[in-house]
Symmetry: C2
Subunit: 374 residues, 2 copies
């Protein structure tokens, strides 16, 4: 059953940009689209705009429903809406699909105007910095000179952080949730296994699988199964699945024996049906490349330009981006004398906690958002 | 250069068993071989025998060299030999390749006498309990009624533990290193991703790839890459590789950017050339199935029959089988009034620490082995 009502229907829109976008990789997008959706109303002086940045497999559909028959709302519907922590009666909230995505913004499955065929492997690498530039152009288009806040979790949190460096005067508040200032070797290693699963799938065809009418389903499925393990905590998996058997006793075969196997394979299958493999590759590369301090003396030096106030949040059982990673960000911001609030939320849900309607977490966001002056 | 000398050359031997072995899965091996090697000399009353059980990808080659030109010795050469913690001047040390293996013991790549072809997918599932039964027959063959000690790390530690339950009067000491009393949902999940990588590789041919002259190299490579991440600690990966780039700056492509990617892919490639995929599947399933307490009231109840003295060792940064998993074993043994020593070794090397020549760890094993009465 859908919980869609006339009040929570939202219609995605597409902004077309015809000026070429120069990318950090050296590539160029000759012209490009961003698909986005908005919730609430932009006030007269455009001081109440919020940008919500999505994570690896997210998109612009942050809340509400696109169609009356949709079974599931946008991915952060528990956070954004009337009376919710990010209250759309106060704020004008923008969700935008990143460049390279597969939900409407220009990406590898889009048509390359130069060839009339899908970009495929020819689509250039995109980085978090590129995304901030593209999003800034969308903000210009929407008449938003300065966001009241830019908010994101995981890869979205990295985008919010990057905004505070790239466009310090275009946001007053920056909410960085379950993020990290860069990926560790272990983080990169997990990403690389996921990518190798896709790249070595015979149906990948060097990224041009669209032309073959195929899709590297096996590789994408493995990538997602692996990803899921890193999103959940060992404890959460233990309490949800433990060693519960599918059929009560061992069958000694390679079909599902344990419920956890069933869950993971299902998640993998579902994802492989709906997500674009080239986009998955790009998003994981963007994660790897993210490192504001790469050419700076330190993270603190890299964050020197930032002017926003910050709320940084981590979750105790998140082992993908553990609390210590958030504390690195906090320390670097404090070294710059920035206004920083930091909370480490007790949660059993691992990295996925940032998507959950955890009471303390939501209360914290609500209180922070309530205090924002327009 | 090889460090092989006339004194450290060892010759593997094969024991053939012609009586069928009934397996826990309900399957039967009509006749079967175990390949093994021995170090030191069995004393007159056969009271100085040690059984060393191997882990997932290990084998019978525990120490020394098989050929004068071998570059690398057996996998536990730092632990076993003259003057080493398991001193072959005192002990007669036996290494044996598990059934289902791919290094000489009967396994999926062996010829099925019923068909004259490789067993392939027809090879029955084998469990840790099956291994103890097979190893006990080898002990009979070697004239060993009771082992002075049975020793193993990881999956090998589980075998040692199982021996203490299945054949309580056939071992006086049991050394359980970097092990766990059962796999958690997260452990099983990692195994399942690895297995799915192999099972869905088009070159797997339902396990009968031998007949096709192919091997599911891509799947096995992914499985090993993933395995490697879980063997190393986040810290160890960080200090060894960090974010060090292969070519000094980003190239924005899918070839190697970071050294960690190079390392993992190399490990995966090397393994995929030498290990049998069906064996890999079987070994991970044996891990999943291992659960002495499955049909008991508790782990303590399951360990009720054990009579050995125990040394249990864990490593602080091992997140595959964390110290807490070893403490579960220790508590259950103490509940039975068993003689247990437990050490939690400070190490940065994660699960792999059990293979490393860590001074404290080796001193501990040495002291324990020295105290064993013959």
């Amino acid at each position: 059953m859908s919980h869609a009502t006339p009040d929570n229907l939202v219609c995605p829109q597409t902004a077309h940009f015809s000026a070429p976008l120069e990318l950090q990789s050296g590539g160029t997008l000759p012209d490009w689209d961003l698909v986005y959706e908005t919730h609430g109303t932009l006030n007269a002086d455009a001081s109440n705009a919020i940008l919500v940045c999505h994570a690896l497999s997210g998109n612009h559909h942050i809340a509400g429903y696109h169609h009356p028959q949709d079974k599931k709302p946008g991915w952060w519907d528990n956070m954004i809406g009337v009376g919710k922590p990010i209250d759309t009666r106060k704020f004008f909230v923008v969700g935008v699909n990143n460049l390279g995505g597969c939900h409407g913004s220009t990406g590898p499955s889009s048509i390359n105007p130069a060839t009339g065929k899908a970009w495929g492997a020819q689509f250039p690498m995109v980085t978090v910095i590129d995304w901030t530039h593209a999003q800034a152009q969308l903000a210009d288009r929407l008449g938003i000179r300065q966001f009241a806040a830019i908010i994101g979790g995981s890869l979205g949190g990295m985008q919010a952080l990057q905004w505070s460096i790239t466009y310090p005067d275009r946001l007053r508040h920056c909410l960085v949730i379950a993020a990290a200032p860069y990926l560790t070797a272990q983080n990169i290693a997990f990403n690389d296994v996921a990518r190798q699963a896709i790249l070595t799938d015979p149906d990948f065809h060097d990224g041009n699988y669209y032309a073959f009418g195929s899709t590297p389903r096996r590789g994408l499925r493995l990538a997602r199964m692996l990803g899921h393990i890193t999103y959940l905590s060992d404890d959460a998996m233990g309490s949800k699945f433990g060693r519960v058997l599918r059929h009560g006793s061992f069958a000694y075969h390679h079909e599902v024996e344990f419920e956890i196997e069933s869950y993971l394979r299902y998640q993998g299958d579902k994802f492989a049906e709906t997500f674009d493999a080239n986009t998955y590759l790009l998003m994981t590369k963007a994660l790897d490349y993210f490192d504001p301090a790469q050419h700076a003396e330190s993270l603190a030096a890299a964050l020197g330009p930032a002017r926003a106030s910050f709320l940084v949040i981590s979750f105790t059982t998140d082992w993908r981006f553990a609390p210590e990673r958030s504390r690195e960000i906090v320390r670097a911001l404090l070294d710059n004398g920035r206004d920083v609030s930091y909370a480490e939320i007790e949660s059993t849900h691992g990295h996925d906690a940032f998507l959950m309607p955890h009471a303390h977490y939501h209360a914290l966001i609500r209180a922070y958002m309530d205090r924002i002056n327009l």
